[in-house]
Symmetry: D3
Subunit: 237 residues, 6 copies
């Protein structure tokens, strides 16, 4: 039995509140149960130095946890003077995931930065960030198309992410904090609408997988991402 | 005439949404018009090294602007590896302001950290932070009293802050971004319920004050803070 | 009674030794009693990136306390790898104060940096820095005029600063360290020759002001700054 | 056809030279073709602060690329003043991988640090690091057992890692640099002797996987790791 | 002919103004011609962690150049966030040099830090720092003896330093900036009263030495240090 | 008697294994007994900003000790976020030493970086680094000549370095770790083929030199460097 009383393949309630901030070209507050992440997309006309003059764009992500997003207060990375390895790992993942569905040539020489700031954490902040960042990105691109800055849509698919894990021997979908801290194994899947896999990060500290276990988690992830894809489409309509 | 159409002594709409996050001992999302700041109060049993063993507590503040809280995206301080002078100046001000209404001996050997994270900026983020931080602090202290951890309330007064400035020759209250970037002079007042002044920061880059000008701004600030005091009391009820 | 035996409106002895170092375009060692600050003005032909091509100049300040300027040795900021919030706050204040009396367009596309290094501290280091920095700036500008590099003087007024506070219930002028560490309230005023106020920073940690108290401190500050203005004119003659 | 002329399921030559440095409690120079990594295991009697007094040990990893391990010289992280996100991601992976086969309670309150320094890079440096680190760890533990410091062996299994990818449409094993930079997809598998999976990191930037593709790569990884397990056993004999 | 008109074995005028700052346990402003360094000795009751409980003391040095000590303004190390290699090299030299004449066991478990801050630079700042630091150290130790904190003097000898170089083919003593920037070779000698050598740093970038050249410079250094030893004794009397 | 059983003027076995890594333009693994340093020379077409457009080249060095090159593990400088003063001092010495034998005008506008990474330390790592760096540099330059990129050889001489010291009263050559940590005095000599001295760093912490002692160490250094010069020539043949 899951602490939350959910069925093994049951997601938490997803809500996506678009236009949460007024300055960003695209923004949303995405919630997976009590996990809430503010995602903004910022469009800038300059690309990183190593991309200049190639006529292509760039999509990148940044991630941060507000100090009191968690049960006990964490120290502020800006005050410590550096980002943790965990933060850097997550923001690299966000960038790769979004780029997997964007045709950078169609984007033109502009950069879109997806800032994912965790307001409240209850497990699954990196996957909520990716799922929400796609919405912010789509809204920003829609704005560029509406203003005539872009002629064709560089976003080719949807991308969403979800965590799965083995909790007391049972594969379960969308772990919350209570489950996550007691799970035997934990995997994050980044899936693309239409059926492909963009990224798998299956980590076992304390337990291990076999093929069958990995596939069962992947099957759960498909169920979860289908729900997210629908919520994303609703949000950007 | 103010760009916003407000009268010179008219505040923007204030809303204070308490309990905005679930983990913090006290929290609120405070809005002054389009300026929105998430304030959380975190109670910890340890005090800074130089305070240990004195039986007193400490109240401190941290401040940050989300990268896309502003018109154009600012770089993330955690990524740059240091906090700007402006950030440090503001968070020192937040700490001093809150400490001016707390009896640290009554707080006992515990630290309360007030994190003020600006979700959206439209002028007056530091004053909104102070005004909201008091609410978060009060909620946290109420919790300590309710649980029996504290016998007496260490908070002796309310503290609130507001900016005033001279816009096209007229002293005006509660500047928004449009006014702030065109004001001849700008002052932040931190006032204490009952009539005293905790802090004045009157800065003139381009223009200057005389006594009369300073007093007129202070009179406006009193009007503004009276409104904030009322909103704070409503919020913590 | 003040520990120093001074009357409430009595300044410490001010001395300004110009030309204290030979390389700087302008320099002085300013003393307010035992507080001694070396102020140098350095003229450079480049301005910060965001000012380039506008035909305007820039005036900025940097501040540091030598490790053993104080009663007990403080750690060296260069060794710690960052400047404290206090240092940054002060150097921002120095820059703003000096800019309030300079017409940056008349300065032309050059930057003048005012380095204020505290050799010995006995209270009032930031105000001594501002008062001395004006002398260093004036000497540097005089040099530019003498060499024909500048046709008109971009310095429009004098600027000076002084601290005041409430010590054992009495408003007093120009606090030394003993008074400062026991004062109920502390205010720094930056005044401009001719009567205007450039900046007020009135901070009360432990005590608070009302209008009357603030105005009494301001009146003391006017007395103090009149004395400093005279000393500055003497020095640059 | 692979640039190297290898069959799709053919590994590069593996050599493991143990005792490469004399000070470390365990060390080896591991080579996968032209990729060469120096792995050392250092035993220390202190554990991280958050582990103290629990009677358990800790195993952690650090990773670095010598500046000229690569085709063009990379800047030295110590000179830049921070480790890249990539470095931190890899060293976290090394630590997790090794911990997945160690019973930390049996290790007792000591820390073993696995330093993996890449002498020469030709693809697969992180997987070579993990595979070599196990050897260094085993040698260090053998020493602790020989000296009587440990009564039971805390290492429960072998762990090895290998990269696989899809190169010109074909799944291939153990990518070298030429293949890696032209692969459509890239996955790193960390496998445990006996058949379980410790970690999967399958990343597709530009291409994507389906289940079948993922399983085919996993099957290749099993072939590769079986070879590595044998080489590890040879090395520690 | 030397630019300064000095004879090859002629020092610049040395002045040592003791008690230049009032807080330090020992202090002096040392001048070698236009090179002026403020040296302070700070006595603290704690020693570095690796020295604790051994009953011995420690003597260490820190060095800094004020930004406008030089012809053109250098950036402030505290603002850049790190000390240059040159600064670190010099402060390590200062510490070693002073320790070479102190019996650390006689000092007891206390640390004396010698801060050498260059007010004005005209060549030879590191050697002036060492020569002045000895005076500051001696004054601080005299104070400890006077107060009864120390029974025996831990300072066993004097230490002084001077630069020599080969200028247009001629070995010369005590290079000023003009000579230093045009010298073919440059050497710093740290000598101990009584005739021994504590340290030699002879560097040739562009030119090279032979034994004879090195010995001639050393002979000049002896002449110079004899003068400094006398000036030191005068100063501490 | 030396712990190693060597005669006072006896070097440890020197081996220089060229081509140790395949990417660098020049590389070798140099061993002085158990001290082993990997030296690579990297040729780049850009020079530091302050050298641009002068038609000259630059030669520079970087140095690092692998964490477990030593008896006990040292913390990784990249993880600590800064290079130690010792590291910076050594890499500045490496650069100066190599530049003393290179005609930078003949090198043309290119930079050669000599990375010296200590694989295993047993005393004398800085001198081994310099001696090996010359070999790496020579190999890189030979390659530039072979490819026609350089018409004339900018390397004018050989440079080598060795440490000497006074061990139990006897001057000895090429100190290993056991001797170094018990020596009364320690000196590093950088000598140039043909008889000149590029650099002397004679440091006495605890003991001191006189002229005679310094000259005796220098004589030993000449013996040692003659051996290194021969080994270098063998290596680059």
């Amino acid at each position: 039995m899951r602490p939350s009383g959910r069925a093994p393949d049951e997601m938490r309630a997803i809500t996506i509140e678009t236009g949460f901030t007024k300055h960003a070209e695209g923004s949303c507050l995405v919630s997976f149960g009590d996990t809430r992440v503010l995602c903004t997309a910022s469009v800038e006309r300059n690309v990183p130095p190593w991309m200049r003059g190639k006529g292509e764009g760039w999509v990148t992500g940044e991630y941060s946890m507000l100090p009191r997003a968690t049960h006990t207060r964490g120290s502020r990375e800006a005050a410590r003077g550096k980002q943790s390895g965990r933060t850097q790992e997550i923001q690299r993942l966000i960038g790769r995931s979004l780029r997997s569905v964007v045709d950078l040539r169609k984007l033109g020489e502009r950069q879109i930065t997806l800032d994912c700031d965790v307001i409240q954490a209850d497990g699954g902040t990196r996957t909520a960030s990716i799922s929400g960042a796609w919405v912010a990105l789509k809204l920003a691109v829609n704005g560029l198309i509406a203003s005539g800055d872009l002629k064709v849509d560089p976003i080719e698919k949807q991308v969403a992410a979800i965590s799965c894990g083995i909790y007391k021997g049972t594969p379960v979908l969308d772990l919350d904090y209570d489950e996550d801290s007691n799970a035997d194994a934990d995997a994050n899947f980044v899936l693309i609408s239409g059926g492909h896999i963009a990224e798998v990060q299956a980590t076992a500290e304390g337990a291990t997988y076999d093929e069958e276990g990995l596939l069962r988690l992947l099957r759960l992830a498909r169920i979860g991402c289908d729900g997210i894809f629908a919520a994303q489409l609703d949000a950007v309509k």
